[in-house]
């Protein structure tokens, strides 16, 4: 393995790492908020909202991320809104991941026994109080592992920025690879940079899972 590839192009790797990290953090926060909102829409008793939430999830999660990214980068300028590669990639990643997060959260909430809601309501809780104090605390435990999976996928999927000149790790690696004509070594270092992001995330999710298990 040729370590000089890493040192000779270190500033490009770091620039890529910075953009990958930034895109991941923004998309992680954004997709969580959006995912919770859509999940709530899907379990609400108000039918039109339910349909809207279902349509969103089914539409978004059944299209390749690459195509969603193309829509935001190549398509949106036709509608008068121009996002650069980094912005378009991050927005696409957020929207794509939010559909999966919505599903994970919905499944978690619905896996809490119906009796819990009924008991809470008959004890005088309103629907939202019951949701907030009884259902969600139980659901969160169930939701953590699949949510962790989605976040890990999100970090890795951020490589989609590379195809729309989003300045991320994959993009920089493509440039290093094409100027040095080295393929394998260049991407090995990319893999290491991704691990720097994903391993701590993985550990964090496992820790959270253990903590919540003890709490009841």
């Amino acid at each position: 393995m040729n370590v000089s590839i890493l040192f000779d192009n270190f500033s490009m790797y770091m620039d890529g790492f910075y953009h990958t990290l930034l895109a991941s953090v923004i998309a992680l926060a954004g997709s969580f908020v959006l995912g919770v909102a859509v999940a709530v829409m899907r379990i609400t008793v108000f039918k039109p909202l339910q349909w809207l939430g279902t349509a969103y999830v089914e539409f978004i999660r059944n299209i390749p991320l690459l195509l969603i990214t193309f829509v935001f980068y190549f398509g949106l300028p036709n509608a008068g809104l121009r996002l650069d590669g980094f912005q378009a990639g991050t927005v696409a990643l957020t929207i794509y991941t939010s559909a999966f997060i919505a599903e994970a959260i919905r499944a978690g909430i619905q896996s809490v026994s119906k009796g819990q809601m009924e008991a809470a309501r008959s004890s005088g809780f309103t629907y939202s109080q019951a949701m907030l104090h009884i259902i969600l605390p139980q659901a969160i435990k169930i939701v953590i592992p699949p949510l962790g999976n989605q976040f890990l996928n999100l970090v890795k999927n951020s490589s989609i920025l590379g195809v729309v000149a989003g300045l991320d790790l994959m993009y920089q690696a493509d440039l290093v690879s094409s100027s040095t004509l080295v393929v394998f070594d260049v991407y090995i270092f990319v893999a290491l940079f991704y691990l720097v992001l994903t391993i701590p995330l993985s550990i964090g999710v496992n820790y959270l899972e253990k903590r919540l298990e003890k709490s009841y």
Binding site: P77, R82, V164, A165, D174, S178, L181
Partner: protein, 253 residues
């Protein structure tokens, strides 16, 4: 038993010498572009790849194996072509590939088969008239793994360069207003301007980029045959015919 032994010998030999392998298999596999108008483009209705590179490759197959139908084509990109050649997936690259010193370390090149030069494609009415106009804040679009992306960084150091997977995506980015100009070899830009009348080439070509046919390092026998074939098709008029068919100009002397 003896015949078995000699068969084993032959297959070992053929791994070493591409030309012998080509003659053994009675076919020659070219790595070509399938996204490059005028040079190598997949015709969506027939599924055939067509273009200048394809016709040149067919004539080489005709000269080496006696029949242009013995040319087979595999799709390559600027990023995949050298690894595919080195893996033995293809015998030669005819894919708008510029001869450079850097690449000569990895592959062997034939003589020049097309004289290209880098230029700029802009929307008609653009303020950019030449490479000198690409100052700070301007964005130039290019393709990953191409010499043009490295050249433009030298010629327009102030401009930022955005690189894409292929020409279709780079051109779509230009049409979407993601950049001010698209840069690559003029031959390819002519193809884009030919298809999209709102776009034009601007300024004179600012580099000299000879295209060559690449073979695996050390395959001098095959390189020699390819050079002989190129010479032959230039002298008997086949080359001029192909040039006029695609570039719509006479070859420059």
């Amino acid at each position: 038993c003896g015949s078995k032994g000699s068969n084993g010998e032959a297959s070992k030999e053929s791994k070493k010498d591409t030309l012998a392998a080509i003659k053994d298999n009675d076919k020659i596999v070219f790595g070509v572009k399938t996204d490059t108008r005028l040079f190598g483009l997949k015709n969506p209705s027939s599924g055939e790849i067509e273009g200048f590179d394809i016709d040149i490759a067919k004539q080489i197959a005709k000269d080496i194996l006696g029949d242009e139908k013995k040319a087979q084509f595999k799709e390559v990109t600027s990023k995949t072509r050298i690894p595919m050649l080195q893996n033995g997936d293809i015998d030669a690259i005819v894919a708008t590939m510029t001869i450079t010193e850097e690449r000569k370390k990895e592959v062997d090149f034939s003589d020049v088969y097309f004289e290209a030069g880098q230029s700029l494609l802009v929307k008609k009415g653009s303020k950019i008239k030449s490479v000198e106009n690409l100052g700070k804040g301007s964005k130039v679009l290019a393709v990953k793994g191409s010499t043009s992306s490295q050249n433009i960084r030298e010629k327009a150091p102030e401009a930022s360069v955005l690189e894409f997977e292929n020409y279709a995506e780079a051109f779509t980015a230009l049409k979407s207003g993601q950049g001010d100009a698209l840069t690559t070899d003029n031959a390819i830009l002519y193809g884009m301007a030919d298809e999209n009348k709102n776009y034009q080439l601007t300024g004179k070509p600012f580099t000299d980029e000879p295209y060559g046919i690449a073979v695996k390092k050390g395959q001098s026998a095959l390189a020699k045959e390819i050079n002989a074939s190129l010479k032959k098709m230039k002298s008997d008029g086949r080359y001029d015919e192909i040039y006029k068919k695609w570039i719509k100009e006479d070859p420059a002397e």
